[in-house]
């Protein structure tokens, strides 16, 4: 074949190219990140969060929230100043062990804060279980972190996936719905939310007629919406997030199902997407541990301070980051800043009662928040609180033996 004949080249070269991409991606982790030796006396806090990619905004909101909590305490926790170490985890589970090791082994941080993506959370869990470093997870809802993989040094200030849908069973029952279908992405978080709902709904005597899965992260819902129309359930429960959630809400409306079969969901279905969906979200009811219009003193003060400091409105992620700061503060206050007394810090954190913008919460035995789940309804561009769907809901923490 002539060297200039291009038309007939085969796919091997394409595959070769793909390998090259993987190489380039790996090279990205070699960025210079080392800071000079830490000064004595400062508390070393490692932030491992997504600062690029789809979840970048969530990483920023969590960081802002955390720093707000520290600033409110005069920039000190347990009387000690803070030195931050930051790693961008890129929401890449494959790089999670390597990234968390940068904080644990290279920077020798006292506590790790992170992260958003559940897959990365499970990657961190392996490393942190071995090293025993204090760990506060301000988002990723993987059940196993405070379930089968739980450990004394693992704490979470957000939610377990199970929690975000479990209360919906009661809600649907109260509305008189006897059967429902659940639609979500086929990946761990989606399946855990489905389980949480199924358990709650069946306990109330409801029937989950069908579980519908869309391959992650695809957003072509037409086939399954047609399926829903043919099943004709009393209600549809959904979990999608971000761009997928926006598209689902719009497609649900465009398919003519909105108004005919009521739509419910995990709160993430309607968080951060209402500006994008027009009136497609109107009336959708969801459960989550935070809502618009809570109207408590703490929430008002938090929202005002956050808006003033960052010129942004806070969201649920900012609250989770803020509470991570509050929980750590409680732990360090308990040992007067002596972080080497790890058992003391853990004990103080376990006993803490966190006065959060979402309402007061405590930790379960497996270190996951025991918290009120709110029923929210989309009204205009807000997820307006309708009441408490489940008071002090605790994750069952299956398999946690620590």
């Amino acid at each position: 074949m002539n060297k200039n004949e291009k038309a007939g080249y085969d796919r091997r070269e394409f595959l070769l190219g793909s390998t090259a991409i993987a190489g380039v991606a790996a090279a990205g982790t070699l960025l210079p990140g080392g800071t000079a030796l830490a000064q004595q006396g400062k508390l070393k806090v490692g932030l491992m969060l997504p600062y690029t990619g789809t979840f970048a905004q969530l990483g920023v909101a969590i960081t802002n929230g955390f720093k707000l909590a520290v600033d409110e305490r005069g920039g000190k926790l347990g009387g000690r100043e803070i030195e931050y170490f930051t790693v961008d985890d890129e929401s890449n589970p494959a790089k999670a062990p390597e990234n968390v090791n940068k904080l644990v082994q290279r920077d020798k941080v006292d506590v790790v804060i992170g992260t958003v993506h559940s897959g990365v959370v499970m990657g961190m869990a392996k490393v942190l279980k071995e090293s025993g470093t204090l760990w506060i997870n301000p988002n990723g809802g993987a059940g196993a972190m405070t379930g089968a993989a739980c450990a004394p040094n693992f704490f979470r200030t957000s939610f377990s996936n199970w929690q975000t849908t479990h209360a919906l069973g009661k809600v649907l029952k109260a509305k008189g719905h006897k059967n429902a279908v659940f639609i979500t992405w086929k990946y761990a978080a989606g399946e855990e939310m489905m389980e949480g709902f199924k358990e709650g709904f069946e306990k109330e005597g409801g029937k989950l007629t069908k579980e519908l899965y869309v391959p992650f992260p695809q957003v072509e819902f037409q086939a399954l919406l047609t399926e829903i129309a043919s099943i004709k359930p009393d209600a549809v429960v959904a979990f999608f997030a971000g761009g997928g959630a926006a598209k689902f809400l719009k497609d649900y409306q465009a398919a003519g199902l909105k108004g005919k079969i009521p739509l419910y969901g995990s709160g993430f279905l309607t968080d951060g997407v209402l500006d994008a969906v027009g009136d497609a979200g109107e009336g959708v009811e969801t459960t989550l541990h935070y809502a618009d219009g809570l109207d408590t003193k703490k929430d008002k003060a938090f929202r005002l301070a956050y808006a003033k400091t960052y010129k942004l409105q806070p969201d649920v992620y900012a609250v989770q980051g803020y509470d991570a700061g509050q929980l750590l503060a409680a732990g360090l206050d308990g040992v007067k800043g002596n972080v080497s007394d790890k058992a003391g810090v853990i004990k103080a954190m376990e006993a803490a009662k966190i006065d959060s913008p979402r309402g007061t919460w405590t930790l379960s035995k497996s270190h996951n928040p025991v918290q009120d789940m709110y029923l929210r309804k989309v009204v205009g561009k807000e997820n307006k609180v309708q009441g408490v769907a489940w008071k002090a809901l605790a994750d069952p923490a299956r398999g946690c033996k620590a």
Partner: protein, 288 residues
């Protein structure tokens, strides 16, 4: 599944297939006909969608936004070809892969700087914002049907351009032997610039017209990139007809896969691709 719903699913599958063809058409041209591996295809799709969103919120009309955005993307395509791609035609494909992978990162960062990281919605044009009732609780959005029409027109136009026009003949000749075409006195450089710009504009156009359906969000290009390569590989490199056939097959396979075998729906198209690669390595309509 009764017969009525079977027909609706068939419609869903065909409609999704046509959408895939639209999204993959730019890649068919650049990868399939010019032989350039363009990993940044999805980025141009994203640029198109973001342009549609920002221009339509400025002008208040998606049609106006698309008319404004197409010339912009053509210029972008020509500039990229002149400045970057032109220097790589004679090199190994690996260089193209590296360049276009770099472009993905650059465009993603530019998107974040210019437009931010929020999810945005684009309104369906008022004229097409209706639904046709199919059953007592299901209706079909007119906009989806309109897109299908556009896809068919586009497919016919591309086929005509490449197979039936003089320009198309030159493109095909240039694709199989660049030097020979040049020595026959044809300005192959200009042709390549035009074809490349057309490919970029097609990718961006797909993003624009799809924006009301898919919403506009970060990394949206990454999702379409892989499926576009699957379309071109199954269809056969260098074949518009093949790309169309592959799009429809994938659309139907995904639709019925999700309904009938939901557990493995995510793999179906890749299994399909593997089978085609073993059975006909040149693709369904590719030249052996």
């Amino acid at each position: 599944m009764d017969f009525a719903f079977f027909l609706i699913q068939l419609l869903n599958g065909l409609q999704y297939g046509l959408l895939l063809f639209l999204v993959a058409s730019g890649l068919t041209l650049i990868f399939g006909i010019m032989g350039i591996i363009n990993l940044a295809h999805g980025s141009f799709y994203m640029v198109g969608a973001y342009l549609a969103w920002s221009l339509s919120s400025m002008t208040g009309s998606l049609t106006a936004a698309i008319l404004l955005a197409i010339p912009l993307t053509v210029i972008l395509g020509m500039a990229l070809e002149r400045l970057l791609f032109r220097h790589l035609y004679q090199r190994d494909h690996l260089y193209q892969v590296l360049l276009t992978y770099g472009l993905i990162l650059v465009f993603e960062e530019l998107r974040s700087l210019i437009w931010g990281d929020d999810v945005h919605g684009v309104a369906v044009p008022a004229l097409l914002n209706a639904s046709i009732p199919l059953t007592d609780n299901l209706s079909y959005p007119v906009y989806r049907l309109a897109i299908s029409g556009v896809c068919l027109l586009l497919a016919a136009g591309l086929y005509f351009l490449i197979q039936k026009t003089r320009l198309g003949m030159m493109i095909r000749a240039g694709a199989s032997n660049r030097d020979m075409v040049q020595s026959l006195g044809i300005d192959i450089k200009l042709i390549y610039t035009l074809v490349f710009a057309l490919g970029i504009a097609l990718a961006a156009f797909a993003g624009m017209i799809n924006a009301p359906l898919s919403s506009v969000f970060p990394n949206m290009g990454g999702q379409v990139l892989i499926i576009c390569f699957v379309v071109v590989v199954i269809g056969g490199i260098g074949s518009v007809k093949g790309a169309m056939a592959a799009s429809l097959i994938i659309g139907l396979a995904e639709t019925f896969g999700q309904v009938l075998v939901p557990e493995v729906a995510g793999m179906i198209v890749y299994v399909l691709m593997a089978i085609v690669l073993v059975w006909r390595p040149e693709g369904l309509f590719g030249r052996a």
